[in-house]
């Protein structure tokens, strides 16, 4: 008889623990307005990422189509995956000296792990991390980008 009572008590105790848990879920079920998730694709226009968010490597250009990249290749050395290729060319300055400048700053987004080492190593701050994170494309070749815009040149007064 005693064990039977214990059994009945344990059944009700067990049911009580389930009700305690269901009380929590019921609380959120009836007060959902505080606990909704981000409505991501709908809030795309108002979505602001954190300023340090690492989405991709970009090279900012001024309105005169000038950038800060000297083509030194330090980012290429620091990159662990070989996602950066620097192609430089030599030109003649007006003083008649030979000078190496950047021809193409090729960036393979598909290989990049966004470790921030290139941005940290850049002596002139020419490349920064961009906020864009929607990188899906139909063709893998589209993930290879040339960061310096066509016709762009190095800004005045950048130390080599």
């Amino acid at each position: 008889m005693k064990s039977f009572i214990e059994y009945i008590v344990s059944v009700f105790k067990g049911l009580w623990t389930l009700l305690v848990g269901m009380k929590v879920t019921a609380k959120y079920f009836f007060t959902p307005w505080n606990h909704v998730t981000q409505q991501y694709p709908e809030n795309r226009d108002t979505l602001v990422m954190f300023e340090r968010f690492r989405g991709e490597v970009i090279m900012p250009h001024t309105e005169n189509n000038e950038h800060l990249c000297t083509g030194c290749g330090i980012c290429e050395i620091n990159c662990p995956n070989g996602s950066i290729e620097i192609i430089s060319k030599s030109i003649l300055t007006p003083e008649g000296k030979k000078k190496r400048i950047i021809d193409q700053h090729i960036y393979h987004l598909g290989m990049c792990t966004l470790c921030n080492l290139c941005v940290k190593a850049c002596p002139t701050g020419a490349i920064v991390m961009g906020q864009k994170f929607e990188h899906a494309v139909w063709d893998r070749a589209l993930l290879t980008k040339v960061l310096n815009q066509p016709g762009s040149k190095i800004a005045e007064g950048v130390k080599e």
Binding site: L18, G21, V24, T25, F50, R52, R54, L114, N116, L117
Partner: protein, 377 residues
């Protein structure tokens, strides 16, 4: 066919009632591509044989070709839930080899980040454990709170999981101006939410019936298999690296090592829940006292370690994580070995699951908190 061949090679013929079942590599409850070759008699588990290597990525070998600051970003990809601890282990190992003393500010921030990662990892473990037990509700509650920590990471480190925040000689960035405010907000928020975890799952009669006395791992077995972390501490194995080999700011804080001597699934569950409280109190002790100073020591452009062997271990969310670097004086390491907690923990599975039902095997595996990239590396 290969399974049958393995049985024949071992000269271990199946009895008429027994059969072999492949659990995984695509089974949802293995949390990744882990294949368990389970030998069953009806529903009873007779033997569990883990087969790894499905996502072996050769990280140790890749480390031999890259320089020390570049290793950091690969360690993110191993145990992605305690990425910051892995980063810190490599950073500490390189600093130890170069005999660089980092400023106190770096130590404090690293410790806070460690504990935040541990919290995030245990939260995810909690919700996945509930899901493995059949309680899908917990999954949403755990992820809801984890989101707050990931936001803190995103604001300060620039990434949510693969943070790459500790570098040899300090940190990648200084903390964000909002960091302290956000962390304090999170602590007050999470202190109100953590009792909900207990209400939802810890007291639940179904969980207790399924967890109590299941998956017994004795202290001797835990030491023999090298089971560390919360899984080891639930067997009474005092193995907390934060206590025994303090690093970063752990010597400055007071905290308890959570030990449990019941050795079963429930013990492993409760150790992790209590560790969350400990992590909160560690962060509370540090967050107001972050000293002023530099966030990194100026290191040479090319870091070359002196010739020799260096080992550094840290307590990751799953156990003892070790980094062993053999250097020949060049800018790349000669050999890197990672001692990952998941690998050792996984092989205790056979000991724990033997004799239990197959549904218990899922629960036992869940309490070990296996991360497969950590095991395969």
């Amino acid at each position: 066919m290969s399974e049958i061949r393995e049985v024949i090679i071992n000269n271990d013929r199946l009895a008429t009632d027994e059969y072999l079942v492949n659990m995984g590599p695509q089974h949802p409850s293995t949390h990744g591509v882990l294949r368990l070759l389970v030998r069953l008699e009806g529903e009873k588990v007779l033997n569990v044989q883990p087969h790894t290597g499905y996502i072996h990525s050769g990280i140790e070998k890749m480390c031999e070709a890259i320089s020390y600051p570049q290793i950091i970003h690969l360690t993110d990809r191993m145990d992605y839930l305690s990425a910051h601890m892995n980063n810190e282990a490599v950073a500490l190992c390189v600093e130890k080899a170069l005999q660089v003393e980092v400023p106190d500010r770096v130590k404090y921030i690293r410790t806070i980040m460690d504990e935040l990662s541990r919290l995030a990892s245990h939260q995810l473990w909690w919700c996945v454990f509930g899901m493995d037990m059949g309680a899908l509700t917990t999954f949403f509650y755990g992820l809801r709170d984890r989101e707050k920590i990931l936001d803190i990471f995103e604001e300060t480190c620039g990434a949510r999981m693969t943070v790459s925040y500790s570098t040899p000689g300090g940190l990648m960035f200084d903390i964000h101006p909002n960091f302290q405010k956000r962390v304090k907000e999170f602590i007050t928020y999470f202190r109100t939410k953590l009792p909900e975890y207990d209400k939802l799952l810890s007291g639940n009669v179904i969980l207790r019936e399924r967890a109590e006395g299941i998956g017994h791992l004795s202290l001797k077995d835990a030491i023999d298999f090298g089971v560390t972390g919360p899984s080891g501490r639930a067997s009474g194995f005092s193995c907390d690296m934060r206590k025994h080999h303090p690093y970063s700011a752990y010597p400055f804080v007071k905290f308890n090592e959570i030990l449990d001597h019941r050795c079963d699934t429930l013990a492993r569950y409760e150790v992790r829940i209590l560790e969350m409280y400990e992590s909160l109190s560690i962060i509370e002790q540090l967050i107001d006292n972050i000293p002023e100073g530099d966030y990194a020591v100026k290191m040479k452009g090319v870091i070359k370690l002196p010739e020799g062997e260096f080992y550094q271990r840290v307590e990751s969310a799953r156990g003892e994580f070790g980094v062993y670097i053999v250097s020949d004086g060049k800018k790349n390491p000669y050999r890197v070995k990672f001692r990952s907690p998941g690998f050792s923990n996984m092989f205790a599975l056979n000991k724990m699951a033997k004799g239990h039902k197959i549904a218990d095997l899922v629960a036992i595996m869940s309490t070990l908190d296996l991360i497969i990239p950590d095991i395969d590396r």
